[in-house]
């Protein structure tokens, strides 16, 4: 009796509002929303890859223009690192499995968790693939800058590149501090945003598996 009462209460609950579809507009509306989501994703991709392309062009210019051999080598290696970053970000997107919303609840939880774990791994390891390699290259690049007079070289770039040791140390310290901040930001994102979601998914997974011993 109570069981049927509850089912009736539940079914009657949708009577408080009538849902009407304007079918002539619905598909247009859905298509429009799909396009706006795709546009947002495309813009994000262009922004991420655009920064690396800018880096390739800038260090390409340095590699050609700057006469100091060590700085030249560092510029070429930095270009290689920027290209690696483009591939790394693309690869990460490709390996992320799109969530199949029509999968079973249990499977969907697995998919969500895998994606979150992958995201956490990527962000937790930024020190090794995003921060340290360019920082080492920055050190080589900056310490490699020699005296332009020795090479009979003059360029607008000398206004921004440090020549004196003091200036080099100051710039490297600033870059180092910025890198520490980048690592901290990523670790914080994992701790504040991703880890709680993984824990919540794991809790629900273990709740789902509970009672299995009574089968």
């Amino acid at each position: 009796m109570l069981e049927q009462n509850l089912k009736d209460i539940w079914k009657n609950s949708s009577r408080i509002e009538k849902i009407k579809f304007d079918l002539s507009r619905l598909v247009l509306d859905l298509n429009g929303k799909m396009k706006s989501i795709e546009k947002a994703i495309r813009t994000r991709d262009i922004r991420e890859i655009g920064a690396s392309v800018f880096g390739v062009l800038l260090f390409g210019y340095f590699a050609i223009e700057i006469p100091f051999p060590i700085t030249k080598i560092a510029s070429v290696l930095t270009i290689g690192w920027f290209i690696y970053i483009i591939f790394k970000l693309k690869k990460n997107k490709n390996t992320k499995v799109p969530i199949d919303m029509s999968a079973s609840f249990n499977d969907q939880l697995d998919q969500q968790k895998n994606n979150m774990v992958q995201e956490a791994k990527l962000l937790n390891s930024v020190l090794y693939w995003y921060v340290l390699p360019p920082f080492i290259l920055n050190i080589i690049f900056i310490l490699g800058i020699g005296n332009p007079l020795d090479y009979n070289w003059s360029s607008w770039a000398m206004d921004v590149l440090p020549v004196e040791l003091n200036d080099k140390v100051r710039l490297l310290t600033l870059i180092g501090l910025f890198n520490v901040f980048v690592v901290w930001l990523n670790k914080r994102a994992v701790k504040k945003s991703i880890t709680p979601i993984i824990k919540e998914i794991e809790t629900v997974q273990s709740q789902l598996q509970s009672d299995a011993q009574n089968i």
């Binding site: 009462n5 849902i19 579809f21 989501i37 919540e200 789902l208 009672d211």
Partner: protein, 168 residues
């Protein structure tokens, strides 16, 4: 078994709108409204519609999407509800007949009792209240039919213990 070609999107939405909305009402937590979740479910159904294969019934398929979308909203994967889809072509109109305050109270009691269950039990109990057989609940949740039966025995007891004093 039917294939996707035998259904139109409009038909599927029309036939299932009330059940989807009932589930959305359980999962909507401020600042997300049930209407927001409903629209997101409709969007996901439309997105996945072409890939529907008649491995399960269309009802089971709709329930899976509704449950997954609603649960996903709880994980707060998107910042606030900025990424939730707003569709102007779906209207929510309050029912013309005055809703019975007694019915509202009963529903509120049921809602509170469902909400007091853990996340996994919530997802199972809404399917039970939809009068789905255990076999279908098992297919939607990805558990075995026996497992669902054992769980339901416990969940029903919890639900009855919670709601009986509220309804009397």
């Amino acid at each position: 078994m039917h294939s996707q070609r035998e259904y139109s999107l409009e038909q599927v939405l029309e036939d299932n709108k009330e059940k989807i909305y009932r589930i959305c009402r359980i999962y909507a937590v401020d600042p997300i409204e049930p209407q927001d979740l409903f629209q997101e479910v409709v969007f996901q159904i439309w997105k996945s519609f072409s890939s529907f294969k008649a491995k399960s019934s269309i009802n089971t398929w709709v329930y899976k999407i509704a449950l997954n979308v609603c649960f996903r909203s709880k994980l707060k994967l998107e910042k606030a509800n900025s990424k939730l889809v707003k569709l102007d072509s779906i209207q929510f109109i309050p029912a013309e007949t005055d809703s019975d305050s007694d019915d509202e109270e009963k529903y509120k009691a049921l809602h509170d009792c469902i909400y007091s269950l853990n996340e996994s039990d919530q997802s199972i109990v809404v399917l039970y209240l939809e009068e789905l057989p255990y076999k279908e609940i098992a297919s939607i949740t990805g558990l075995s039919e026996n497992h669902i039966a054992v769980k339901m025995k416990r969940i029903k007891q919890q639900l009855f213990d919670c709601i009986t004093p509220k309804l009397n």
